[in-house]
């Protein structure tokens, strides 16, 4: 309960009475949730209680939380209005044959009409309140403002918006309704700066709004996004850090492949520069046709230090859409593939016509190594939850060990796939989402709700974490036990069991062993081989609950932290309980020593980003390293080269003075940290303490 109150803004203060109410709700739902039903269904079908797997940290069973993430068809509300939607639904209900096989469809349309009317009524309540307040208001300016609010809330989202002010209100009412129905992470506004652009352009051209007024309205919207929080249980708070993932996608191309970026998007960037908020988040769909002035605005925002916008490679996303949906019964059009967006975090899909199911179980690949080294037994729960692949001391060579690792992987994916597919049935039964289904194209036409696969492009996103920890662990075993024979498997196992206590020399060897992120061809070839095999094994388990091959989404959220807390020591030199590596192609902290270009190449190529649903790459930099116009050009060149190498996601985080302070106190963990000092680059930990202090002072960039 306490943890559940964590939001992206920190600890949430809740009044006593609300807390009591929440406790009552919790007790009422305790054994009636999706996860309870899901686990019962699994036990009935496979004869095993699956709770042991999640307890051992093999996967995180996300089914306990709301599903349905993606990008709604906001333009429908803006341009047609919800009254039009109600009329359309009524017509469809009348036209639907009254046969028993159409019962679900009848129920859905009836429910949809109720839901849409409720959203309209909700906006009217705001109008009434504004009117009432206006009556009592004596200040003419305030009164006029209240009456304007009333007029806008009477108008939208029921009817089409006529200007930017109405459009922003319509957007917000719809977004809020979707979030209220099922507060799910990654309910994303999508290409906001593009569908809002016609309203913006008209008002600016007619002189009704100034750019500064638009920014003020956007600032208000930013605050509204930050008001939303998710309260879905302690472990959920741990795995997502309260992140709500409301992502606005900017850039990209239009249906004909031309640059789709708009001037309004530059104002979104400006708003983010001024607000430094954490919601909404901005994602740039990068492509080489973006204008230099636009890219400079992007760089200005990145340099602000909020890590925004994150970058997605537009070319990869389109290729991925074409590959992913080509297998669907109705295929995909090129125009739809280009109308892509960031669904939240780093995964992608089609705007307005698709959504993804987040209730997939989310496996931890590093756990596979732990099970492999313990003959299938989880060291913390002492239960055999993996495959008994044999005493690891008996493996004759690395390939034999690797084969056993693949068996463990297959086992993990089989369990999580079976559990996940049943979870979809549980969700469909317990919490189908009605208004969301109205807002995602395809559901109304098919007469199926989102959870049943009603959207035009439904997708399942199995989020998979800690691949780099697994690959680095295998590389260390290969190097230390099999290639150089510096230690025996027995010594390694003893050291791991002791959490390296009394085995500091072995821990150092483990930490120094070859690691991902340094552009060493043979090392990166192994990382690529590992990720390739992971995908192949996952695909071989069979189709997802919609009947299609599901690409793996390789990213971490805060799962690397959650799973890390459930895991013992690893052959990478990481100690028990410590967070695993973030992202899916980032380097383990302190192990990339060849610089940012080497890291970027290694990160871009680790995963086949078209075959996978996502990769996830965090890069840290010192603000001073990218100063001035040349620094901006260099940053853009890093992004472009990353994309040229086929990378999908990259996010630049500024190294803060706190980090440098920590590096000064713990030089072992920051061997790779390069700083720029007058005229040359240097490893931070090798500088004189006085010089270090000076750099720490210098790095305290604004914000």
């Amino acid at each position: 309960m306490q943890l559940a109150k964590m939001t992206s803004l920190g600890e949430m203060k809740i009044p006593q009475e609300t807390e009591e109410l929440l406790e009552k709700v919790y007790k009422k739902w305790k054994n009636r949730t999706c996860i309870a039903l899901n686990n019962k269904m699994y036990k009935d079908k496979y004869g095993v209680n699956p709770a042991q797997y999640s307890k051992a940290g093999m996967y995180y069973d996300n089914v306990s939380v709301a599903s349905g993430s993606g990008i709604a068809d906001y333009p429908k509300a803006l341009n047609k209005g919800l009254r039009w939607v109600v009329d359309d639904l009524k017509q469809r209900l009348r036209d639907c044959p009254t046969t028993l096989d159409n019962k679900e469809r009848h129920d859905l349309y009836r429910a949809m009409i109720v839901a849409v009317e409720a959203v309209i009524a909700h906006s009217h309540r705001y109008a009434e309140l504004a009117e009432k307040t206006a009556e009592a208001e004596t200040d003419p300016k305030n009164k006029a403002e209240l009456l304007e609010i009333a007029e806008i809330c009477r108008r939208v989202p029921e009817y089409p918006a006529r200007n930017f002010r109405e459009a922003i209100q319509s957007f917000w009412f719809v977004h809020l309704a979707i979030e209220v129905e099922q507060m799910a992470c990654a309910t994303s506004p999508g290409r906001y700066g593009q569908y809002m652009y016609p309203f913006y352009k008209k008002d600016i051209e007619e002189g009704k709004l100034t750019r500064e007024q638009v920014i003020t309205l956007l600032k208000f919207q930013w605050i509204k996004h930050m008001e939303l929080g998710e309260y879905q249980g302690g472990s959920y708070a741990k795995t997502l850090s309260g992140h709500t993932g409301q992502t606005i996608t900017i850039g990209g191309v239009d249906a004909d492949g031309r640059d789709a970026s708009t001037e309004l998007e530059e104002l979104l960037l400006e708003t983010q520069i001024r607000m430094r908020g954490i919601q909404p988040t901005l994602t740039l769909l990068y492509h080489p046709k973006l204008k230099p002035s636009y890219l400079n605005k992007v760089v200005e925002c990145i340099r602000g230090g909020s890590g925004q916008p994150q970058i997605l490679n537009n070319t990869v996303v389109i290729e991925r859409n074409l590959a992913r949906f080509a297998q669907y019964k109705d295929g995909i059009t090129l125009e739809d593939a280009r109308n892509c967006g960031n669904y939240g975090c780093v995964s992608t899909g089609i705007c307005g016509k698709g959504s993804f199911i987040t209730q997939e179980d989310q496996p931890c690949l590093a756990k596979v190594v732990e099970l492999l080294l313990n003959n299938g037994k989880d060291p913390s729960t002492k239960k055999v939850v993996g495959v008994e692949t044999g005493d690891p001391r008996e493996f004759k060579d690395f390939e034999e060990l690797y084969g056993a690792c693949k068996e463990q992987l297959r086992h993990l994916f089989t369990i999580s796939r079976h559990h996940s597919d049943l979870s979809q049935m549980a969700r469909l039964q317990v919490v189908p989402s009605v208004f969301r289904s109205v807002m995602y194209d395809g559901c109304i036409e098919k007469g199926m709700c989102e959870e049943a696969g009603g959207t035009r492009y439904p997708q399942v996103n199995p989020i998979m974490t800690a691949g780099v920890d697994a690959a680095n662990s295998l590389l260390a075993i290969k190097h230390l036990v099999f290639d150089t024979k510096k230690i025996t498997m027995d010594q390694l196992l003893e050291a791991l069991k002791a959490n390296f206590e009394g085995y500091e020399d072995i821990r150092k060897m483990c930490f120094e062993a070859p690691k991902h992120g340094n552009d060493y061809p043979e090392i990166e070839a192994f990382v690529q081989r590992f990720y390739h095999d992971v995908d192949e094994i996952h695909s071989s388990i069979g189709p997802d609950c919609f009947g299609y091959r599901t690409p793996l989404d390789a990213y971490s959220l805060s799962y690397h932290n959650y799973f890390g807390s459930l895991m013992g020591a690893l052959p990478t030199g990481r100690k028990a309980g410590v967070a695993l590596t973030d992202g899916s192609v980032s380097a383990m902290p302190g192990t990339d020593h060849e610089g940012i270009t080497a890291l970027i190449k290694s990160g871009a190529e680790a995963i086949d980003t078209v075959r996978y649903g996502a990769n996830h790459f965090n890069v840290k930099f010192l603000p001073s390293a990218l100063e001035g116009p040349q620094g901006a050009r260099n940053l853009i060149a890093l992004i472009k080269t990353y994309c040229d190498y086929g990378g999908s996601h990259i996010q630049f985080n500024c190294v803060s003075s706190d980090t440098l302070q920590h590096a000064q106190d713990n030089p072992q963990e920051y061997k790779d940290l390069v700083v720029r000092v007058a005229g040359f680059s240097a490893y931070f930990t090798r500088l004189d303490r006085g010089v270090q202090n000076e750099i720490i002072k210098r790095t305290e960039y604004a914000g």
Binding site: D505, M509, I596, N634, K640, D644, K671, S681
Partner: protein, 297 residues
């Protein structure tokens, strides 16, 4: 193929010419400037660096040492420079890189293999490769081969030089490289010799050749309080560069960033003063009065 001693190859180098670059640092320098901030670059042979602050006292170096130069003292490793033969056996086993060898004999092909790794970054950023040191031109044929191979790859090539280089060799480089980051320390031959160990006649001849070659030349000056910032020297510089129509120089004010490296080499840190911001401003104004604008790099 020729070989030479390289003490560092810095990828993602951004201040040694335009764009994203890889800078190759060749070991060895014919000058010995009082203020040198890379003391490990002066000798032409590999040397052991020892960063005491990174030592965790594991004792691996003592076990690896073949010359009896390493011992333990109060839980931390100790290095006897008299005994040390810079063989690098300890650096190979040091788990924290507190001990590290500066300088490795490399072939042209080995260096090129590293440079090629970032070719796409050069292309996308308008960058290239830079040769620095030490004094890169002292690398002789090895250096010339590297420049030629880089030019053949189509890369933009910069040379960071003090100009103390046989003229015949310097003219060959002028034909190939695109950009020269050319240091000037002092205009007076005697003073120059006192500060760097060599007079400046050869340097100034090469500087003239560079300025007349049509290649891009950035004139750079390490600026040392009381050593080369006098009215007299600045007047002489303005006169010299003015005849070539050059009115801008890049200055590198003295700093103490090399301090830890002197310690790592067991060398005393040279007693060079640093500018206060106000003093630096006054010196820059002195340049300006003589028609030379300054940019700090």
């Amino acid at each position: 193929m020729s070989q030479g001693t390289v003490y560092n190859i810095q990828r993602m180098s951004t201040k040694d010419g335009p764009g994203i670059r890889t800078t190759v640092f060749l070991k060895g320098c014919p000058l010995h400037c009082l203020w040198c901030s890379n003391p490990e670059s002066q000798l032409f042979t590999p040397q052991l660096l020892f960063f005491r602050n990174l030592c965790t006292g594991c004792g691996a170096c003592v076990r690896a040492c073949r010359s009896g130069a390493s011992s333990m003292e109060e839980g931390v490793s100790r290095l006897d420079r008299e005994q040390c033969r810079d063989c690098g056996a300890c650096a190979l086993v040091c788990p924290t890189r507190a001990r590290e060898m500066s300088g490795r004999l490399m072939s042209v092909e080995e260096v090129m293999a590293v440079l090629r790794k970032d070719a796409l970054f050069y292309e996308n950023s308008g960058g290239g490769v830079t040769f620095g040191g030490g004094e890169p031109t002292s690398g002789g044929q090895f250096f010339l081969d590297l420049v030629e191979a880089s030019v053949l790859e189509g890369w933009h090539v910069a040379v960071d030089t003090c100009g103390f280089c046989p003229e015949e060799r310097f003219h060959k480089v002028l034909k190939m490289a695109d950009l020269f980051l050319f240091d000037i320390k002092h205009m007076d031959p005697e003073q120059h010799k006192a500060l760097t160990g060599q007079d400046n006649a050869l340097i100034l001849r090469n500087m003239r050749a560079a300025l007349l070659s049509g290649r891009e030349v950035h004139i750079r000056m390490p600026l040392m309080p009381g050593l080369n910032d006098s009215e007299e020297n600045i007047t002489a510089m303005a006169d010299f560069f003015g005849t070539f129509g050059r009115h801008e120089i890049e200055i590198m004010p003295c700093h103490a960033f090399g301090r830890n490296k002197y310690a790592a080499l067991s060398l005393p840190f040279p007693a060079v003063e640093q500018y206060t911001p106000e003093a630096l401003q006054r010196v820059r104004e002195r340049f300006a009065r003589h028609g030379l604008s300054t940019v700090i790099v």
